[in-house]
Subunit: 191 residues, 2 copies
DNA sequence: TTGCATCCATACGCACGAGTATGGGTTGCG
DNA sequence: CGCAACCCATACTCGTGCGTATGGATGCAA
């Protein structure tokens, strides 16, 4: 029903603008989020935009909220369904490693941590994920204090890898090398 | 009225501009690097700037080169002087953890990885440091392949920690918690 | 069909920051 | 002393991107 492709542009909704904004952020970063550029991409003009949103910041705000809520139902929920707690962490690592697309926005927002609207969102998301890791490590048999530090270390490694390999594109890893790296992470970080 | 209050220096050199640029980058990011803002901070006007540099990009380029060359003689050289290879990695971790200031520019550049001038610099610096870790892990008794992955993991953890705690300011760690985290890193990542 | 809300186009104002033109002041040196 | 080379101030131009004003087009309900 909702056939919204590039050639066939019916009327737009606020959600369409938010999705387009997230795509643009994922590809070119928060700094590249300009209303006229987005309008061109959607096949309309600024007049449309300023009917749906009061300002550019409002769009960013809405897009971030949308992304955060969408992220609620992410891999974490599937992982928690696994019966054996000891299976969860390795499985989490492997899944995260092979789901490339969802991390693009996160990597882009990581580079926009100077923007006031981005900071609280990233703080919440990162906190939530780190806490999940904390619980997972505890359930895997670690004592709480050590589990917390391990969770921080793990998440830092994730974030750093995103920056280095994703954004910086260094080093260029083949599939085999990448898989070996993931297995090395698992062997090193999971007791 | 003597308008020039802060520095005694009445005439500026290109190096003065580059240092000021690096300070501004460390505090407010690459995006905040504006010539008129810098000029105000230095107590002069644009006229001075465009005598020393042809363009804004030229200043950024020069500042990055200056930072990279300054970074050559960093902690790494001191660490290599340690006689016992097994002592080097723990000592490196502890020193890096307590030298806060030199990481500010690196953290800021991490958020500017979409800028064409920043990417090659960061690629070189990160590559150099990772290779140093690779050698260090090898000398500590690891086999080369595992040592390389461990080096990548370690450096990713460093980068991620920078982003999360430095830029995002999360979580707020006390000195004791931070030291405990560092020791946990050492125990986990160093064989 | 009429009337109203929704959605968009066109044309503008305006702030901000990069870069230019040009002249004045300062310093070193013969 | 005097003259360059050097350093900086003032006053512009110009492109870009946000936001506004206003009217036209489209869909839906009565």
């Amino acid at each position: 029903m909702n056939v919204r492709q590039k050639p066939e542009r019916t009327r737009l909704s606020a959600e369409d603008w938010e999705d387009a904004a997230l795509n643009l952020i994922a590809e070119q970063g928060v700094g590249a989020l300009a209303v006229e550029a987005l309008a061109r991409q959607l096949g309309v003009t600024k007049g449309s935009f300023y009917w749906h949103f009061r300002t550019r910041e409002a769009l960013l705000q809405a897009a971030l909220e949308r992304w955060e809520q969408y992220g609620e139902r992410e891999i974490i929920n599937q992982i928690e369904a696994l019966p054996d707690p000891r299976e969860r962490l390795p499985e989490l690592f492997r899944r995260v490693a092979h789901e490339v697309q969802p991390h693009r926005v996160y990597a882009a927002l990581l580079k926009a941590l100077d923007h006031p609207l981005v900071v609280p969102v990233m703080a919440r998301v990162s906190k939530r994920r780190t806490e999940f890791l904390h619980v997972a490590y505890t359930e895997a048999g670690m004592e709480p204090t050590e589990a917390l530090n391990r969770a921080r270390l793990t998440y830092a490694a994730y974030v750093g890898f995103l920056q280095l390999n994703f954004t910086l594109g260094l080093p260029r890893l083949t599939h085999e090398e990448f898989d070996a790296y993931v297995e090395h992470m698992i062997a090193t970080l999971i007791p």
